[in-house]
């Protein structure tokens, strides 16, 4: 395996020394490109009090290519599908090498605070969200309780 680019080392150091509130990201011992991530559900959202686990992988072309991020915890959200894949512009076409691990994770946290059912990934959830927002939010709260809360 090629040596780790300096930028990745720097970013990792800073994630530890100057962590983002409500977000943790730790590199895997075996593979320093693989991060175990947790994001706290934003206050005021149906995901409040939940702690969501994600995995983040930095591809070989990073930072020219966006990191690959996926939810490991089940979540009821119109832009996140059953496999945990995330529909977010900065992870796809709007990626920029000036973005970093921390900014991407912040964007995901913001996505939890403001779901966008008009650009859905999980169609059934989005439909539910548009037809009956209160009901959908209740279901999201239920799922957060079920899957994202430490017992």
């Amino acid at each position: 395996m090629a040596s780790l680019p300096k930028r990745i080392i720097k970013e990792t150091e800073r994630l530890v020394s100057d962590p983002v509130p409500g977000i943790t990201a730790e590199p895997h011992d075996d593979n320093l490109r693989y991060f175990e991530v947790t994001i706290e559900g934003p206050a005021g959202s149906p995901y409040e009090n939940g702690i969501f686990q994600l995995e983040l992988y930095l591809p070989d072309d990073y930072p020219m290519e966006a990191p690959k991020v996926r939810f490991l915890t089940k979540i009821y959200h119109p832009n996140i599908d059953r496999l945990g894949r995330i529909c977010l512009d900065v992870l796809k076409t709007n990626w920029s090498p000036a973005l970093q691990i921390r900014t991407v994770l912040l964007s995901i946290q913001a996505l939890l605070a403001s779901p966008n059912p008009n650009d859905p990934l999980a169609n059934d959830v989005a439909e539910d969200w548009i037809k009956n927002e209160e009901g959908a939010k209740n279901k999201a709260r239920e799922w957060t309780q079920l899957y994202a809360t430490k017992k």
Binding site: K6, R7, K10, D61, T93, S96, P97, A98
Partner: protein
């Protein structure tokens, strides 16, 4: 004591340290997170290392390239920031003199390696992995229903067809450097004036020096006098390769613009109507051009240029009926003003030939002068030696 020394003294050690710290921390490349190496500035003012930008552009070869920080489309080739480079080299050399650890040495040698690559790319004319070659801007002609067109081949571009992955002209496959959007504001026009000027600059080699300067002057005049529609007509001229014709048109417009400034109010209306007649004629040219380009697999503007010139010559010889019809039409529109007539368009190539001949003659006579002056000086020497 000069001004700079005074400032440094007044600030004191602490503030001067802050300045250096600030300079270094703000000179970090947002792509590699290191101190900028070979800083390249985009038109929005953001700076990145050459190597970083090169690989960012290369991984997005056919897409609409944007600034990593502000996303402004990179429609002009980014430039080397000499000033910033000097400042950073100066500071890094000071650090080097002080003696550094092996890690620093490695960093410095890496910087030198990248600089060698940059210099090689400059020497071989392959900056940014050639992503700015075979690229153009989309231009919008307000007199053509505001349809965006490829700046290279004038193929109609449909904004909906422009893929996120491929911002390229479907006809000539040039990458389009700006956002393809139909004209809905005057800003688009001023943008297109700029883009035309840029494209011309790139193609400057196709023109002789005088011709190129004339064209740039004309573009300025158009954009200054709010006759921007004319510029787009003009560029279609340029592309349809009636080079003689367009040059002569513009000479005439020059004269007109001069007289306009003398007696502006009176001539304003007449000027407009003249422009209209030109635009009408240009539209015909455009149609012809599109038909041409449909038949041709790739852009062959140069080749077309020659064929048009040949046609002109034939016209002169055979007095082709069609062209003389069009010319007389032209003449009717413009004869009152002493404006350039259709007939004189054909004469254009003649004139140019004559001009060339004249230039040749001048050059020859210059040579003769040279020779004779040399003879004279030699004679002078002879006289001197005689005196001796």
């Amino acid at each position: 004591m000069n001004q700079a020394d005074k400032i440094v003294e007044n600030l004191g050690k602490k503030k001067n340290k802050t300045i250096v710290t600030n300079l270094l921390s703000s000179s970090q490349c947002h792509i590699c997170h290191e101190i900028l190496n070979i800083p390249i500035m985009l038109s929005c003012g953001h700076n990145y290392c050459y190597m970083c930008l090169k690989s960012w552009f290369k991984t997005n070869e056919n897409r609409l390239l944007g600034c990593p920080d502000c996303r402004k489309s990179v429609d002009v080739t980014p430039a080397f920031n000499l000033f910033l480079d000097h400042q950073l080299k100066f500071i890094l050399n000071l650090v080097k003199e002080k003696g550094v650890d092996s890690k620093w040495d490695q960093t410095l040698s890496e910087r030198e390696q990248d600089e060698a690559i940059y210099k090689n790319d400059v020497a071989k004319d392959m900056l940014f992995a050639n992503v700015f070659k075979n690229s153009t801007l989309s231009v919008v002609d307000m007199d053509d229903d505001g349809i965006p067109r490829c700046g290279n081949c004038h193929w109609e571009l449909d904004p909906d067809d422009m893929d996120e992955e491929e911002n390229v002209c479907p006809h000539c496959h040039y990458r389009i450097r700006n956002n393809v959007a139909p004209a809905d504001s005057e800003n688009v026009m001023s943008g297109s004036v700029r883009s035309i000027a840029n494209d011309l600059r790139r193609r400057a080699e196709e023109y002789s020096e005088g011709e190129y300067d004339d064209i740039i002057d004309d573009i300025r005049r158009y954009s200054d006098s709010d006759l921007e529609s004319g510029v787009d007509d003009y560029i279609s001229h340029e592309d349809s390769a009636n080079r003689n014709m367009s040059l002569h048109d513009n000479e005439a417009i020059d004269e007109d613009a001069n007289s306009k400034s003398e007696n502006e109010d009176e001539l304003e209306e007449e000027h407009d109507s003249e422009m209209d007649s030109f635009i009408e004629n240009d539209e015909e040219d455009n149609d012809e051009e599109i038909m041409d380009s449909e038949d041709e697999p790739s852009s062959m503007s140069r080749k077309r240029k020659y064929s048009v010139l040949d046609d002109d010559e034939e016209n002169q010889i055979n007095n082709d009926a069609n062209s003389s019809e069009q010319d007389s039409d032209f003449y009717e529109h413009n004869e009152d003003e002493g404006f350039v007539s259709g007939d004189s368009l054909d004469d254009g190539s003649d004139n140019e030939v004559a001009q060339n001949d004249q230039e040749m003659d001048e050059a020859e006579s210059e040579n003769e002068e040279d020779v004779s002056s040399r003879k004279r000086s030699r004679r002078g020497q002879v006289v001197l030696s005689d005196d001796e």
